[in-house]
């Protein structure tokens, strides 16, 4: 187990170096969301002049969407790195070595989640300079980070099978646009009430709206509502399905040899959190 963790962290460390040495990655994952934040606040927000909505309220409203956008754009690089490792022969080198084979993909997951969380924190710090203020207490901040972490894990696992399946660099990262589209057709940047009926119905029931609402509520200092638990369920469900999908693709395309069905570190952690949440709800029921 210790060697397995060491291998995972060694492989993750390699990819963190990739991220930190890639100007393109840093610009897209850190600088672009900051630019979007500033654009929404000082260009779009300034022009819209929403009646009865103060500058701080507007910043507080759009920040969860910007944070999720940061995570969504970053996941494109995860798919890209998976694709590059697959096509450059690095996966073959690692898998021909006496290491746990699941450490190869889990290294990708750990590095991706760490980098996504790092970029999210940078964007969050910049948002404080632009006027964002939260009424959340420590517990609510922690739960906010659970949601952001859960989303980072979800988009990371979602990018794994797509990176493994992709036949070109372009297709490897294209799925992040779909995530961004889902973000725009949600309550991330505008209220769903003003949307046409068909779009509104979709926006109200798609997972992005649930996750944005849950994050917004926590940052506003509200106790976790049904949205929080629904968001966790979406995240665990999508992560789990993506994990199984990755394994299936790995086997179908013969990237992975028969190995005992050990789950990765992060899916195991998510299952643990889910169990913990279930126990808490049972306790609350009593």
């Amino acid at each position: 187990m210790i060697n397995y963790l060491k291998d995972t962290l060694t492989l993750a460390n390699r990819l963190i170096k990739h991220n930190l040495r890639s100007i393109d990655t840093i610009i897209t994952v850190v600088a672009m969301p900051i630019a979007m934040l500033l654009m929404f606040i000082y260009i779009l927000g300034g022009s819209m002049q929403l009646p009865g909505v103060s500058h701080r309220e507007y910043v507080n409203y759009i920040l969860p969407g910007i944070l999720f956008m940061t995570l969504a754009t970053g996941s494109a690089y995860t798919a890209l790195r998976v694709f590059m490792d697959k096509s450059s022969g690095m996966f073959d080198r690692f898998k021909s070595m006496p290491i746990a084979k699941s450490a190869v993909l889990n290294g990708q997951v750990v590095s991706s989640v760490l980098f996504l969380m790092f970029s999210t924190i940078v964007v969050l710090l910049v948002s404080l300079l632009t006027g964002f203020r939260s009424n959340a207490n420590l517990g609510q901040w922690l739960l906010t980070f659970v949601l952001l972490f859960g989303f980072a894990v979800m988009v990371t696992w979602l990018s794994m099978p797509l990176g493994l399946m992709a036949k070109s660099i372009d297709t490897a990262s294209a799925f992040s646009y779909l995530l961004l589209l889902l973000l725009f057709v949600s309550s991330a940047f505008a209220s769903v009430k003003g949307m046409p009926t068909a779009v509104r119905l979709f926006a109200e029931h798609q997972p992005m709206t649930t996750m944005i609402t849950a994050t917004r509520e926590l940052l506003a200092g509200q106790e976790p509502s049904a949205s929080f638990w629904q968001s966790l369920a979406w995240m665990i469900g999508i992560s789990g399905l993506s994990f199984v999908w990755s394994k299936r693709i790995g086997r179908a395309r013969q990237f992975i040899l028969n190995e005992s069905a050990r789950l990765g570190v992060l899916p195991e952690l998510l299952i643990f959190l889910c169990r913990l949440a279930c126990l808490k709800r049972q306790d609350d029921g009593k």
Partner: protein, 308 residues
């Protein structure tokens, strides 16, 4: 000699295509085995099966008395694999690439191991440069150095010199010979006959997923047939007279003034032929014995035609 690798009746199919069909071979410890074949013959697939990167549909891979896939990790501790492309991380430096592999092999003092290998492969000056800036030859040297981290007993190389210039190719051949001198067993695939001839103790010809011939380079050359006598005449007329005189021999006309006679009765037949032509006063401009090459074997085995 001890057999260190034994492949028995390996089968592999991708969709409707049977890529490997009952392939069997064995490799002796401390030798170089070269698997020779054209593109698409199944060389890389067999190598990936031998290294546990691909599962076989049938058959057995035995390495040092361990079997795949049951003893995968035990076997993988004993060998290293270098793929067809240079499997190096372009973003990391040469030093970082080597320490990465050393850490994954759980070696103590990974930096010392990396420094030793950098020096051995003349890469010390480029140790802190991104591997993406290396030339093709340097990248292949780094790739081979990464394969030697942990001092594995068996080294699998998939087309190690493909795409290299002649100087880099020679450098790599020297390094491979040095590894053999240290007692390592090397299994390499190649489509270059010269490479197999230069390096291999034993060669296996793979065609359409089947081993069609195996043996030492000398044994392989014998497969191409007898030695030949090459005769060059001053003009077409002399060549035509010689063809008439030698009508009972196996003669191939290379060009109007050049004939090649297969010495099916042995090398001494050449003296009789030269005497026949001298007695008939047919002047010969030049002549010489031509030994069969692996090219001849390759042509004979892959096309069923022996070159003249």
């Amino acid at each position: 000699m001890t057999t260190i690798i034994k492949i028995d009746q390996i089968k592999k199919r991708f969709g409707k295509q049977q890529v490997l069909n009952h392939v069997s071979l064995s490799v002796e410890q401390g030798t170089i085995y070269s698997l020779l074949g054209a593109n698409g013959a199944g060389k890389s697939t067999l190598l990936k099966i031998m290294t546990g990167l691909l599962p076989a549909d049938g058959g057995d891979v035995e390495i040092e008395h361990h079997h795949l896939p049951k003893d995968l990790l035990t076997i993988q501790r004993r060998f290293s694999y270098s793929g067809q492309q240079s499997s190096i991380d372009d973003v990391l430096t040469g030093m970082e690439n080597l320490t990465l592999v050393a850490k994954l092999r759980h070696l103590p003092q990974s930096k010392v191991v990396a420094q030793d290998l950098l020096a051995r492969f003349s890469l010390t000056d480029a140790a802190n440069k991104a591997a993406g800036s290396y030339s093709g030859g340097m990248a292949r040297r780094l790739d081979l150095a990464m394969s030697l981290v942990g001092d594995p007993e068996i080294i699998f190389l998939d087309e190690p010199t493909t795409g290299l210039d002649p100087a880099s190719r020679n450098d790599l051949w020297t390094m491979i010979r040095e590894l053999k001198a240290k007692g390592k067993t090397i299994f390499l695939t190649t489509q270059y006959i010269e490479e197999a001839d230069q390096l291999a103790d034993r060669i296996g010809f793979l065609r359409d997923g089947e081993i069609i011939a195996t043996g030492t380079p000398a044994e392989m050359k014998q497969l191409a047939g007898a030695e030949k006598l090459k005769l060059i005449f001053k003009n077409d007329a002399d060549s035509l007279v010689a063809q008439k005189i030698l009508e009972t021999a196996q003669v191939t006309v290379l060009d109007p003034v050049t004939l090649v006679v297969t010495l099916s009765a042995g090398n001494h037949q050449s003296l009789a032929i030269l005497k026949q032509l001298a007695d008939a006063e047919v002047p010969i401009d030049n002549f010489g014995l031509v030994s069969p090459t692996l090219d001849d074997v390759f042509m004979k085995l892959t096309k069923g035609v022996t070159q003249g």
